[in-house]
């Protein structure tokens, strides 16, 4: 009787295994779906550098002529601010590309392009020192020293989502030590 049970159990196990195998043979086809794929990859290098600018100042006949130039490899915006002991004695002369804003800075609106390119130099910015102009050279009242300090700053050109360039002056850096005459 026990032997019979063993036979029965073995038989059932083998039969179940056979059925599972048969079912498995069928399910293989049922799970085959049409699929495909394609891949792509790429890269770029981010090179970040600081723009470099140069300020040139020359005093001719009581006028300080200021020129700013991009001498680096990156586009940049520039602005400058003028400090004088007596602001009433100075006048400014500049092209329409320069704009004075409420913060006291003069902003050069066009982008200064990298060195060696056509747009790398800003239009000249003139500071007329009237005290010097109006005083005859031989006048004994001619001040021996008249301080006009020009601070120039630059910042990288950024672009908004629409692709329009803008300047973030929070990232600005000074080009050099303030120049004075």
């Amino acid at each position: 009787m026990t032997e019979n049970k063993k036979w029965m159990r073995r038989t059932l196990c083998l039969a179940s295994a056979a059925l599972l195998l048969t079912a498995g043979a069928g399910s293989g086809r049922a799970m085959a779906y049409f699929t495909t794929y394609a891949l792509a990859s790429g890269e770029g290098t981010l090179v970040l550098g600081t723009p470099q600018t140069e300020i040139t100042e020359e005093v001719i006949n009581g006028t300080k002529q200021v020129t700013l130039q991009n001498i680096g490899d990156y586009d940049c915006y520039v602005r400058l601010k003028v400090f004088a002991a007596d602001a009433d004695t100075i006048n400014y002369s500049y092209s329409q590309n320069w704009t004075q804003r409420e913060d006291g800075y003069f902003y050069y609106e066009p982008i200064l392009t990298p060195k060696g390119t056509e747009g790398s130099t800003a239009d000249r910015f003139d500071i007329e020192i009237s005290a010097l102009k109006e005083t005859p050279e031989e006048d004994s009242l001619l001040p021996s020293e008249f301080n006009v300090i020009v601070i120039q700053e630059y910042t990288m050109v950024l672009y908004d989502e629409a692709g329009s360039p803008y300047a973030d002056w929070n990232l600005a850096e000074s080009a050099a030590d303030p120049a004075q005459e």
Partner: protein
């Protein structure tokens, strides 16, 4: 003794039945194989072949189509996979990538097979140093793909499967033969935030992201529309539902 004989006969019967079933399943395959050489089957091959292509700025850069010659791809990588090149010839050498500036980078998918299919795209973004070592300290979200995941363009983002580095998108409508999806993205832009990760020492500014390489990878998957829910579950391991209008929902 008679009972014992009966017991012995039973497994024989079971095995015979199993053998017959197995044989029948083989016959089924043979029947299919016979059809393979018939005229009508040749036509069926054309109808049932699947294919998908990835387009960058309107040009197919990677595809894998089933044809009479088997699987065919126009670009095969060293690993034998259908692998195209993104951003080829750009942002290398003298061409400097300006933070914030949008560069043209449109991606779309085309059904280049002969059957309708659902498609999805998995995009990976990452940073690596000059030696190619991936640097997870740097934020992959600063590699912007403009328009990615915008509502109304037909693509839906699987937020549960997406991370900072990976974005999984499904195209809601099935693509007919030759049909192209709407644009997955419209432009590439490096967030100007990269400029704020900088240190200045002795008047010299050094940027954390300077010299780093950004990587963009795309994987496009396509699956048949017939029995789509089961097919997608089987192929992609994702539970989706297909609406009456055949639109796919996560």
């Amino acid at each position: 003794m008679k009972k014992r004989k009966h017991i012995i006969t039973s497994p024989v019967l079971f095995f015979s039945a199993a053998a017959v079933l197995l044989l029948l399943s083989t016959v089924g395959s043979t029947r299919a194989a016979l059809t393979y050489y018939s005229d009508s089957y040749e036509m069926n091959v054309e109808v049932s072949s699947i294919g998908v292509s990835l387009l960058e700025n309107g040009t197919i850069i990677s595809n894998r189509n089933y044809t009479e010659q088997g699987w065919v791809s126009n670009h095969v990588g060293e690993d034998g996979e259908p692998r195209g090149i993104l951003l080829e010839g750009r942002f290398q050498g003298d061409e400097k990538l300006v933070p914030g500036k949008q560069y043209e980078e449109t991606l779309s998918v085309q059904n280049s097979g002969q059957i309708d299919s659902y498609v999805r795209v998995i995009l990976y973004r990452s940073w690596a140093d000059a030696a190619g070592r991936r640097d997870t300290r740097l934020n992959p979200e600063l590699i912007h793909l403009d328009g990615l995941g915008e509502t109304g363009n037909g693509w839906i983002v699987d937020e549960s499967a997406s991370t900072k580095e990976r974005t999984v998108l499904y195209y809601q409508r099935p693509l007919a033969q030759g049909e192209e999806t709407s644009l997955l993205c419209t432009g590439l832009r490096i967030d100007p935030e990269v400029l704020k990760k900088a240190e200045t020492e002795n008047g010299q500014t050094s940027y954390l992201y300077n010299g780093y390489r950004f990587f963009l990878e795309a994987e496009v998957d396509a699956v048949q529309t017939h029995n789509a829910e089961d097919a997608i579950k089987s192929a992609w391991g994702v539970d989706v539902s297909i609406g009456e209008d055949k639109s796919l929902h996560l």
